[in-house]
Every structure is written in C-alpha cells, then in structure tokens.
Symmetry: C2
Subunit: 337 residues, 2 copies
C-alpha cells in the first residue's frame, strides 16, 4: 500500500524530540550566477551529519510503538547509515552491532564506535550481510538502509520540514542510492506541493536512471567507482522503485562536476558537505538549464561526512582559484552539450 503524507507526519512526530530542524541555506552569488533560486536543506548539520538519522530513529521508534522496544539492533553499512543506527540505538539505550567491511575508513569506524555501537569488521560486504542476517535470526532488530517503509518515512521528513518552512517550490532534487531519500521526497512533495521531483545520479552509477527509463530494475555489475560514497548501491529495491517511477526525471552528472560543486558549495555556503550532497546541486543546475523561466528549487544536502581520502580527491585540483565563471561555464557547458 502506498505510503502517504500522513505516514510521514507520524514519523515526524516520533523523531522530532531527537533530530534537528536543519536550516535552509542559500547563496545570492549562486542564485545570480545560475539564474534560479536554490534553497539548500542542510542535512549535513543533522545529528550524525546526515539525513540518515531520521530514518534510523523512525524505524526504531516505530518498532517500539507497534511491537516493543527491540532488545538489540543490528545493521550493515560502511557509511552514514552505520552512524545513524548507532546513534539512534544509543539514545534509546539499546545495544547495537554494526557490521562493516574491513576496508572502511578509520574515521567512520571510530565515529560509529563513538556513537556507542559495537563495530564488527568483516573481510567483505557479503560476509557483513550474512553476519547481520545471522544476528537478526537470533533476535536482533535489523534496520536496512532504505528497503523499509519506516526508513523511507523518516527520510521523507526532511522534505516535509523544508516545505513547511518555505512554500511554493517549483522543484525538489535529491540523489538516488538505494532510493530511500527520493522515495520519501516523492511522497512529501506530491501532497505538499506541485513541485517537480528530480533524482540525481552519477553517470558512473546510473542504475536508477536506466531502471527509470526502461521501466524495470537494472543492476550494476560491481561497486561503481564514483566519488559519491552515498550512492554506490548496485540497485534500488522494488519498494523504492515504485516511488522512483513517479519522478519527473533523473539527471545524470559526472564526477568532475560533482567535485567542482563540492568545492564551490563548501566555499559559498560555508558548510561541510560530502560529494553526494553536491550531486543534488548539479542535478538541480542541469534541470534548471532546461527551464525557460526562473525557478525556485529545493536542493537536499544529504550530509557532511568526508574522510581524508575523499577530501584529498575533492581538492586535488584548485577549482576555486579558477573563479566563479569557470565553475558556471563548466556546469552550463556540459549540460548543453
């Protein structure tokens, strides 16, 4: 059964005591240069530095409401979902076990432990998933990163909040990994606005775009080499694809465009953002270039967690020194080519 705004409102009521109402940021320089009005929902300033706090907390509180508070929790993740589950469980006083592939960056393992989880490193992702299933079969509450109605509802509260704060958006843009955030955004935007909902994907990891166009779920052959670690999932799920099919479009963008935009958004918004957050913006710009009139666009900034190697990759070239015009030309040029 389709999720509705009412389900997102219920999620919002559950998680409000725990999550932050993140601000909407803007830059007059950006708006002037690109000819549209961008408002950035700053989920990088959310608890654990990412919107993932919303879904994890909602899933746990929903379990408590409908069944009973789980006695223990587990998850598989090498990214923001790991920290979100650790944080949510810890706030509710529940022990959590997070399975991570051993090649995860130290800062992420450290952070997940700092939020109170037991981190179990496994040789690879496959082993991590088997171990989590085993843990679940022994009674732990498993929180998937996107393939769960209450995770989707939690993620959708970011868009609800933004649209409550600033009405009358013409479009809203979010990246697509497993599809949890975009699904929640579709549900929110459909009932709260007449905004177009646009997905953004790296061209190196365009399984959702291929699926959207062909009408059936396509899967990538292996982990895509994009800098956006938030969207390296191989395929969306049946559950999220249902909502993805309701998008107006999915825009594909290059890693170079994402890197340039990560530098410029960090500089102009003075906000620490991860490349996956900049992906939203590039999608918004490319969509905006096809519009005949000035639009008001909500851009979901997913998070602000970068490890050292990611940051080095983002800043390997000095894009800021080349000036704003070079930035605008780079994004305009490739959008029109």
């Amino acid at each position: 059964m389709d999720l509705r705004l009412a389900d997102l409102r219920a999620a919002q009521a559950r998680i409000n005591p725990f999550v932050l109402r993140t601000p909407l940021l803007s830059s007059r320089i950006l708006n002037r240069m690109f000819g549209h009005d961008f408002l950035f929902k700053a989920e990088n300033l959310q608890r654990v530095g990412a919107f993932k706090a919303r879904g994890a907390m909602n899933a746990l509180l929903w379990a408590k409401e409908t069944h009973s508070l789980p006695s223990r929790v587990c998850a598989v993740s090498s990214g923001n979902h790991a920290q979100a589950v650790a944080w949510a469980a810890s706030l509710l006083g529940i022990p959590s076990k997070i399975f991570m592939p051993a090649n995860v960056s130290q800062i992420k393992a450290h952070a997940t432990r700092a939020y109170g989880a037991q981190v179990v490193l496994t040789p690879d992702r496959q082993t991590a998933e088997s171990a989590a299933l085993e843990e679940q079969s022994q009674g732990a509450f498993f929180i998937p990163p996107y393939d769960h109605d209450q995770v989707i509802c939690g993620q959708g509260t970011a868009c609800v909040e933004a649209m409550e704060t600033e009405p009358s958006f013409d479009a809203v843009v979010a990246p697509i990994g497993g599809g949890g955030l975009i699904a929640g955004t579709v549900i929110a935007a459909k009932e709260l606005s007449s905004a177009s909902v646009i997905g953004a994907e790296p061209d190196k990891a365009n399984d959702a775009a291929l699926s959207f166009r062909s009408g059936r779920i396509c899967s990538l052959g292996g982990t895509p080499p994009t800098i956006c670690d938030g969207v390296r999932t191989l395929r969306v799920s049946e559950r999220t694809f249902h909502y993805i099919q309701q998008l107006e479009d999915i825009v594909e963008v290059s890693d170079e465009e994402i890197i340039i935009s990560t530098q410029w958004l960090t500089h102009l918004l003075k906000a620490t953002i991860e490349p996956t957050a900049a992906l939203s913006f590039v999608g918004a710009v490319k969509w905006g270039l096809r519009q005949p009139t000035r639009k008001r666009v909500l851009v979901l900034l997913t998070g602000g967690n970068l490890d050292h190697s990611c940051r080095s990759q983002v800043y390997s070239e000095a894009w800021l020194e080349k000036g704003l015009d070079a930035f605008v030309e780079r994004l305009r040029g490739s959008a029109l080519s």
Copy 2:
C-alpha cells in the same frame, strides 16, 4: 572616551537589516571529550563569510548618519576585510577600490571583485597602503580593518547577539589580530555578563600577548609565518590596546594545534572554518583546562574563507583518521606541559 554597550547597540540597529543573525553551534561529542560546554558563534556563516561584514557595514552607515553617505570608499586588505568593504559599499550603491598586494590568492581577488569592488593589485603591502592614503586624500572614505571606533563597535555586535541568545557564559574567547574583534568583545561582555574575556594568539604571532604582559605595545619584526592569515598583523593599535589590557588573559597556541582543531571542528560542526576560527577554540580549551569546574564558553568563529593552499596545509596530515582521543590528548598534553 571609552566605547560602551550603548555604542554597540547603535551599531546593531544600523547593521541589522544587512547582516545575518548567525547561529550558535555546538557539538555534544566535543563537550563530552573536553568537559566544558562550548557554544560557537558561527560568523563563518555571516555575509562574506566573516564577522568583518559587521564592522565595515557599521562604519559606512555611521558615516552616512553623521556626515553623509561617502561618494566612494577605499581599503587595504588581502583578507576578509577586503570582501567586507566591497560588499558593504556595493549594497549601499557606493563604488569601492580595494588595494591588495599582488601575491594575494586568486580566490580572494575574485571574491572581492564579485562583491563589486575595483581591485588594484600593488607590488607589496607598503605600496598598497600608500596608494590608499593617496585615494583618501582625494576624497575617498577609508575604512581601516580595526583602528576605528565604528569598526570596533560593528565587530562587537557578534558577542552582543550571542549573549542575547544564550545568557550566562563563564567565558568568551576571540582571536587577536589588530584587535578590533577582541576590543568589541570586551565592551560587550563587560556590560552584558560576568564572563572572563580571553584572547587567543598563535605563538608565532604573539605580539598582543607580549604587549599585554609588558604593558606596552610590542611589534613583530616581519609578517609572522602562522597559518592564521586573519591575525598576521604586526601590532595592535593604541585604540585596541586600551581594551586588550582589560582581558583576563591571552592564551598562546601552536599552529599544529590550530590545524588539528580546524580539521576536527570542520568535521564535528559540519562548518567550513578558517584556521583563525579554530584558534579561538584552542584558546578556549587551554583556558578550560585550568578551570576546576565545568564552564560554559562562547567561542567566536571568525570566518570560513580558505584558499586552496591554506586548505592543503590544513589537510596535509590525516588527523581525523587518528581518532578523537588523539585530538584530545594532543590539546590536553600541550596545555599541561
């Protein structure tokens, strides 16, 4: 005659339509690790990305109020003051000319032009200053970076705002360059609170600390090699020294401590900050280590403008990967040594 809170209130009324009321950020992890409650006044999110917007705008509006709107404006700066003057003049529709030494980073010259100024590059700082004097003698309104009562009043509004939002601070910490921000902070804190006011300086650029201890203004022999480009001034002025003498203490910190803290504050607060902003925090931590009980400390984050070479220098070593404990140990260790 001493400036008073009433002068800062007048500045606040003048600039409020133009500047942002920046948020107070905090990190529960930081507070837990260091045993004090830090609130960060996020002037990195201010217009032009620095508190300097306050002083420049107040000086201009004050001139308009007491004399008449200047017909043109000039300044000398290779840093945030340049952008602040360009921005303020442009908003009021006044042409501005900013003299900068030619070795200034491209991003800063670009940004100053983007705010509407004519940028004049000169062979060195000395030539820039002579050229500005010449410009002033021909009728331009010269806005100095700190040695002006109305610049001091403008900078002091950051502390006023913070203390209006959150009362009962035990201490407030700000960096000292030319002394404009710390002077305004002294004036604000004295009448609004019983907080100790603490200055922070890099040990490589400790002219204010030497002056504070000896009771007379000391000057550095040449531009100090600290990473904090916001505090590379050679000496404070008579005007600002008057207020600096009212500080409780000036804490000197190393560039390595500043670099580590820039990485960690960027990560934990998800805010883009320049090293001069992290300098405040290191000063706060070192002051905090000498306190027998838990304190509530206001930390002024000066700005968020980093160019490529500064960012490379900050991230040359992967401090985040070493974990929070290493960070805390590094700051605690050297504070106790």
